[in-house]
């Protein structure tokens, strides 16, 4: 399957190890209903928050399990304020890769095909835990 990612994405990004996004995923956001701009990476925005030579800046963080969501909510005040949304993606939507760091060995990134919209695939899964 071939994909088209947004302009400006670094060479060799997404990494070869990333696989077609045929998976259940969870995504957190402040809004109860997701919009297309919730799926725009900082790289695509040209945000100066990150070193945009890093491939991870051009993807979106996702959780692959409910346990990972619960764990993030336990440790992160900000995530407790979010709505959690769940979707079952298909292969054509993009690719998912493991993007681990030493303190976060199970971090996953979703690189969305720029011609695909996944917004409507997400259903509301959890209310925020905190105001």
């Amino acid at each position: 399957m071939s994909y088209e990612f947004c302009e400006g994405i670094p060479d060799a990004c997404p990494p070869n190890a990333a696989v077609p996004s045929e998976a259940d995923i969870f995504r957190g956001a402040p809004a109860q209903a997701l919009a297309d701009n919730d799926f725009v990476s900082f790289g695509e925005l040209g945000s100066n928050r990150f070193d945009l030579t890093q491939c991870k800046a051009w993807g979106l963080s996702i959780w692959k399990t409910e346990e990972a969501v619960s764990f993030a909510r336990a440790n992160l005040t900000y995530v407790r304020k979010w709505h959690i949304h769940r979707a079952t993606l298909s292969a054509q939507h993009g690719v998912i890769g493991e993007t681990p760091t030493v303190p976060q060995p199970h971090h996953h990134t979703f690189w969305k095909d720029k011609n695909q919209s996944v917004t409507d695939l997400f259903v509301h899964f959890l209310e925020p835990e905190a105001a």
Partner: protein, 397 residues
């Protein structure tokens, strides 16, 4: 809306909080370490108003960071300080304004939940380094237990409960009934507040006195034998209390379970959450050869334990004890409960007493499993036996 708070504004706010070591990333660094001049700080994103972030800044050090990354303490534990900064930080990590917030004033929701390690694989971990390194630790949490003070009476009651439970739970069976701390003693680390963590270290002892007073059959014990016996008792506590928590997680504590484990319920109840003392959570931790042991009793579980204990006493219960005195005239004997260390008067029918006496069951020093109805009394409980006592072998060391 820009952030604004009533807290005292920091006169010299840190200039930048650039992420240097990202601990949790989700689209951006949410928890990270930043170097600020001469010290490091852990920064945790609390909110985002669309133009800047609200960030909790907690001074830290290499020892705390190593403990966090090694799974010795929780993220909450690493974010424990007397004073914090809450800062308005722009998306370039420049601090625009900052407020100095004493820990007592910091909203609870700004902090991580208790006992979660940095990695999921760490499981539940202690919130303080003292707990992490302890031979055995009890941590009480509640609304009255602040970082800088707590009611004197509460402190006294909790220390008494922790002392009494630790003595019951950790003393080797060989030393059952010992009185002198010169003979066997478990030192404690400096108690830590903002909750009350009592962390007990490995026992110290006078092995010569132990061998002269307590050794049986001319056995000579070494200090290692006594430490091993104490360790076995500690592990037994985690096993028994773990079974109790599992029973609670499965619904209710069954009558049968409560009757069989009534002494465990009694000892655990002594250090369980108690609304009258404003104790909402209790955690037990220990560093064992197999890793870290951890148990958590919340207010709901504490209430179930209390209810099960009180109900159990209305029917026959099981306990274990060693006969310390026999009174043939009244067909009674006195046992020292092996778990609670309290003496209990056991009452039998005269003919049953005579038969058991004749059979050599009722002898001083015999270790018995007893079943009967408890009559609670201030000085010494009575146990009216409903079945014959059962002699049991005991591994005392």
């Amino acid at each position: 809306m820009p952030w604004d708070f009533a807290w005292e504004e920091a006169p010299r706010a840190p200039g930048r909080v650039t992420p240097e070591d990202v601990l949790y990333f989700y689209d951006e660094p949410l928890i990270y370490v930043s170097t600020m001049g001469f010290f490091d700080a852990i920064c945790s994103k609390i909110d985002d108003n669309g133009t800047s972030n609200l960030v909790l800044i907690c001074p830290t050090d290499n020892k705390t960071l190593a403990a966090l990354k090694g799974g010795l303490i929780s993220v909450r534990g690493a974010l424990t300080a007397k004073n914090y900064w809450v800062a308005d930080v722009d998306y370039d990590y420049v601090v625009r304004r900052a407020w100095t917030v004493p820990s007592n004033d910091l909203p609870e929701e700004y902090l991580p939940k208790k006992a979660y390690g940095l990695y999921p694989s760490f499981g539940r971990v202690p919130d303080t380094i003292e707990q992490a390194k302890a031979f055995f630790s009890i941590k009480f949490s509640g609304s009255e237990l602040h970082a800088d003070q707590m009611p004197f009476q509460t402190f006294k009651d909790l220390v008494n409960s922790a002392f009494s439970a630790t003595k019951s739970l950790m003393t080797p069976y060989l030393l059952n009934g010992y009185k002198s701390p010169d003979v066997f003693n478990m030192p404690v680390a400096q108690p830590s507040f903002s909750s009350l963590a009592i962390s007990v270290m490995k026992p110290e002892m006078d092995i010569a006195v132990i061998n002269s007073r307590y050794a049986r059959n001319q056995t000579v014990y070494s200090e290692q034998d006594i430490v091993r016996a104490t360790t076995n008792r500690r592990n037994e506590f985690f096993e028994q209390a773990g079974e109790l928590i599992e029973e609670i997680n499965n619904g209710e504590i069954s009558d049968h379970f409560a009757a069989e484990k009534v002494d465990w319920l009694k000892v655990i109840l002594e250090v369980s959450p108690n609304p009258q003392r404003s104790i909402e959570d209790v955690e037990f931790t220990a560093l064992t050869n197999q890793g870290r042991a951890y148990l958590h009793i919340d207010g709901n579980a504490g209430e179930k334990i209390r209810h099960a204990y009180e109900k159990a006493l209305t029917a026959p219960v099981v306990m274990e004890g060693v006969i310390v005195e026999i009174n043939g005239d009244s067909s009674t004997f006195l046992v020292r409960n092996t778990l609670t260390h309290r003496q209990v008067t056991c009452i039998l029918l005269e003919e049953t007493f005579k038969r058991l006496d004749r059979d050599g069951i009722i002898t001083r020093g015999a270790h018995l499993r007893l079943r009967g109805n408890v009559e609670s009394r201030v000085r010494r409980d009575k146990l009216r036996l409903t079945v014959d006592p059962e002699p049991i072998p005991v591994v005392i060391v």
